[in-house]
């Protein structure tokens, strides 16, 4: 009884921390992009502008909660919720530190992949239920993009599973106590990261919302709190992909010895995540967007064979006892 109460408290704390972190990320991103683009970015609310997201939230709460008459009402409302919930569910299997983590699921990695696939329903349903042509085009793009990219996202992490022999994320981290998997799985990591960017619809893979083409793509018709939920989902997604990269390839909370004793494991984990989040933001400021067919061709013709090849070679080396 007491144990499950503690578990509930842990879940509550993690959610209560994750959502403000995602909100803060919005500010971090805007500020960093501002600086990289020779501008200031939001710096008015609070010291250095840190409270900008709070101000945005208050503004969004004050907006009319509008549902277009032409839309499919119930689906329209539920779509943004699906996205945010799926991403939050994925965090259940993330091991934050040796003793923090909601669930020690023995199929944690599969659970993550399943949730990532479910999240696409959010975008597709939003595009469908809006009954607007721009939203529909965005939804179509999202469906095609996610279906293509999750195929080799799954394949790219199979190398990790081969080497560690487990789907349990906590055990994967512990298996990296000597060497991080990035050393042997660099190709797998690159593929995973690219697929992750595509899954979270960030530039250069932001085709479902492609502002200059589809105005706002799948969320064209959304406003107020529901729009904010999409935003939340996107930034949680960025955090999730960063966290997964760290867990799978960069040793999770582990650090080599002199460094490990300087800071607690949780802080190391967060710092590593932050590094990848910054990388996501930097990508957004620097790259143009490929065309839809180019994106799919890149996925099926380049990434998929690469992921398969990586899996084959890893398997061969494992069998040969090299790794």
């Amino acid at each position: 009884m007491l144990e499950s109460a503690f578990k509930l408290l842990e879940i509550f704390i993690i959610i209560a921390l994750l959502i403000p972190i995602a909100a803060m990320l919005v500010w971090v991103e805007r500020r960093m992009i501002g600086i990289w683009q020779d501008r200031l970015g939001p710096n008015r609310v609070g010291p250095g502008g840190v409270l900008q997201s709070l101000a945005d939230l208050l503004k969004i709460l004050g907006k009319e909660d509008w549902v277009p008459q032409f839309s499919d009402r119930s689906v329209f409302i539920i779509a943004p919720v699906i996205g945010a919930v799926c991403v939050l569910m994925s965090f259940a299997v993330i091991p934050f530190s040796p003793d923090i983590g909601v669930s020690n699921l023995n199929i944690g990695l599969l659970f993550f992949l399943a949730m990532a696939s479910l999240a696409v329903y959010s975008v597709v349903l939003a595009g469908w239920a809006s009954k607007s042509k721009y939203a529909r085009l965005g939804g179509m793009r999202a469906a095609a993009q996610t279906v293509s990219y999750e195929v080799f996202m799954g394949l790219s992490v199979m190398g990790v599973v081969l080497l560690t022999g487990t789907f349990n994320l906590r055990e994967i981290v512990l298996a990296q106590s000597d060497t991080w998997l990035i050393q042997s799985q660099f190709v797998g990591f690159s593929i995973f990261l690219i697929a992750g960017i595509a899954e979270s619809h960030r530039l250069p893979f932001d085709l479902p919302e492609a502002e200059t083409e589809l105005t706002a793509g799948f969320h064209t018709e959304y406003s107020g709190l529901k729009f904010a939920l999409f935003f939340l989902g996107e930034y949680l997604g960025v955090t999730l992909i960063s966290a997964m990269s760290v867990v799978l390839f960069f040793g999770g909370w582990l650090m080599p010895e002199p460094l490990a004793s300087w800071l607690p494991p949780l802080v190391w984990f967060i710092l590593k995540i932050l590094f990848f989040v910054m990388f996501f933001i930097l990508l957004r400021t620097s790259l143009p967007r490929p065309r839809f067919d180019q994106l799919l061709a890149f996925g099926w013709l380049v990434m998929l064979p690469l992921a398969l090849g990586n899996l084959l070679i890893t398997g061969a080396l494992k069998l040969g006892g090299v790794l």
Binding site: R39, L137, A210, E213, L287, P288, R291, F292
Partner: protein, 598 residues
């Protein structure tokens, strides 16, 4: 660095001694062509003649196809309502339709005029000779009510479909105070709403073929990538564009009509707003036209100042193009860096003129002020600064492989197509055709400057961007030559019709005081005549066709803008593209809606 000597400069003038009229008559002796008379006083050297409207098609056939070096470009097509003209030759009727054709092989233009009477405003369409005459004829119908027989889709283009009357008729009011107060009762509102509905059948489009239902996507008039108020109706099969209809007119402000109600001088600020990114580049053809009519010689210093500021605005416009084009392709950052560069250059413009985007700085006979003290330091700093930045952008943008994938071989057209559709400027040079007005027909002193004409070779989006980037470097070269060779002397001509007139002797001399008073209060009276002048503006060739009836205001102001034909070509280049390609193509055309609609 080359020395320039403005005293040696002379404007381009037609060198062909054999008038094209003789050539036409040898090919088709039955034609009756009437050369323009001295009374019409056409002061540019475009060979002009009148033809009876019954013979128009025969003449056009000869000009377009039968002549050895044919006139392959319909450069401009417009009309004039002659009903209130006081100084009018006897053969001029109630309306004149004026065709301005160009042959690049001859480097020669002709102007053909056809007279119409008010009771029978019909004339044969020339769309089958030049496809880009389509929009021009629609515009003339819209503005004057002249019917072009055989036109494929003669409908309103700039005014809404529900508009009553034809705005450029002299009988149509020009000011709100001459009209009844505006009302929009509910039934009228319903009619207006109905008129906005797109009817594909009216455009010869099908809603479905045997395999697919097409989707019609309304892109604009308010969309992040249409750069202004511009609507394109896309007929799509999935994400592929089957056909499209550009719909313009949302930015129409009646600039040509305003020209008939403003004094010669007070119209200058209106010209700034035609291509609103071009600043003083817009003043350039207008003041040159008035100066030609009045016979004013511009002093050397004013010429060099004009060239320098015009090239600055070319850089300003191209930098904005560069940033927005890349942004349309999806890269968010470069535009911010380029805005920093623009900001610095606007600082210099502000130091010169006191204004930034729309300085209205050229005057009839010169410029408004002399350059401020220390101007050369400002300009020299910038001339040293920009090329380094352009080198950075080269790596960041032009060599980016994603950008190349998105723009190479996208939205391409050949030189022949470009000429057929009236494309000028960087869009034409991107196809590999070397024709820059500043080289081929120098004006305002450009013949003294040393610069190159950058060319592309494929005519795709990438080349259009490439040409503009190189043009910025050439503009820097021209500015540097201005900087090193700025002549001393007056910045405005000494001529009674310059504006504002010279005031130095007014307090001592009644014969100067009276003309000064008249020219300031009424504005100068420009002699009767007609003239067309053109410049190589930021987006292509921009020109003014002015007709003076010996008054303080222009009788007819025709503005030939480059963006208008550029947009007309859109359906030709966008067929079969994806939506994302269309956005890249739109970005690479570099149009300004104010320049299209005027």
């Amino acid at each position: 660095m080359a020395k320039i000597d403005m005293a040696l400069s002379s404007d381009w003038s037609m060198s062909a001694p054999v008038p094209v009229i003789d050539e036409i008559l040898t090919l088709s002796p039955s034609l009756k062509l009437l050369p323009v008379t001295a009374a019409e006083n056409i002061v540019d050297d475009i060979s002009s003649f009148w033809v009876d409207r019954k013979q128009l098609s025969t003449l056009m056939q000869v000009l377009r196809f039968d002549l050895p070096q044919p006139f392959d470009m319909c450069f401009d097509l417009t009309a004039i309502d002659e009903s209130e003209r006081r100084h009018k030759a006897s053969h001029v009727g109630d309306f004149t339709v004026s065709y301005h054709l160009r042959s690049y092989e001859r480097n020669q233009d002709v102007r053909i005029k056809v007279s119409l009477c008010a009771s029978d405003k019909n004339i044969a369409s020339v769309c089958r000779y030049w496809p880009n005459a389509n929009w021009y004829e629609r515009e003339v119908w819209d503005m004057f009510g002249i019917v072009f027989e055989g036109h494929p889709h003669l409908s309103r283009i700039l005014m809404p479909d529900t508009w009553q009357g034809h705005p450029l008729l002299k009988t149509h009011p020009a000011r709100a105070t001459e009209m009844d107060s505006f009302t929009l009762p509910p039934y009228q509102q319903d009619i207006e709403q109905q008129a906005l509905q797109f009817n594909p059948e009216a455009w010869g489009m099908k809603r479905r073929d045997k395999d697919n239902d097409f989707m019609f996507l309304n892109l604009g008039p308010n969309h992040p990538s249409v750069h202004g108020a511009f609507r394109i109706v896309l007929q799509m099969d999935g994400e592929e564009i089957v056909d499209c209809v550009p719909d313009i007119g949302y930015h129409h402000r009646g600039a040509e009509k305003m020209g008939e109600r403003q004094s010669w001088h007070s119209y200058i600020p209106y010209t700034d707003r035609i291509d609103y990114l071009g600043g003083v580049m817009n003043n350039f053809p207008y003041v040159m036209a008035v100066e030609k009519l009045a016979g004013i010689q511009v002093p050397d210093r004013a010429k060099v100042i004009r060239i320098m500021t015009a090239e600055m605005f070319r850089i300003l416009s191209h930098l904005l193009f560069y940033g927005t084009f890349v942004q349309d392709v999806g890269a968010l950052s470069p535009i911010f860096y380029m805005f920093v560069d623009r900001e610095k250059l606007f600082g210099i413009i502000e130091a010169f003129t006191g204004a930034r985007m729309h300085p209205s700085w050229f005057r009839i006979g010169g410029v408004a002020h002399d350059l401020p003290k220390g101007w050369d330091t400002l300009v020299r700093d910038y001339v040293n600064y920009l090329p380094k930045r352009l080198d950075q952008y080269e790596k960041m943008v032009m060599q980016n492989s994603l950008l190349k994938r998105r723009s190479v071989d996208v939205g391409a057209y050949s030189t022949e197509e470009a000429i057929e559709w009236g494309i000028t400027g960087p869009g034409l040079r991107a196809t590999g055709f070397s024709w820059d007005m500043r080289k081929q027909r120098p004006y305002g002193g450009y013949d003294q400057f040393d610069f190159e004409v950058p060319l592309g070779h494929k005519g795709d989006c990438y080349d259009r961007c490439r040409v503009r980037v190189e043009e910025m470097r050439q503009s820097i070269r021209i500015i540097e030559q201005c900087l090193n060779n700025m002549p001393e002397g007056p910045y405005k001509a000494e001529h009674p019709q310059t504006t504002p007139p010279d005031k130095s002797r007014t307090m001592t001399d009644i014969d100067t005081l009276i003309p000064h008073f008249v020219n300031v209060s009424w504005g100068p009276v420009i002699p009767v005549g007609e003239v067309s002048t053109f410049v190589e503006a930021t987006k292509g060739i921009m020109g003014y066709h002015l007709i003076s009836d010996g008054n303080t205001m222009s009788y007819r102001t025709r503005i030939r803008t480059p963006s208008f034909p550029h947009l007309q070509m859109l359906p030709v280049i966008s067929q079969g593209q994806m939506v994302a390609d269309l956005i890249a193509t739109l970005g690479s055309i570099d149009y300004v809606m104010a320049d299209v609609d005027r």
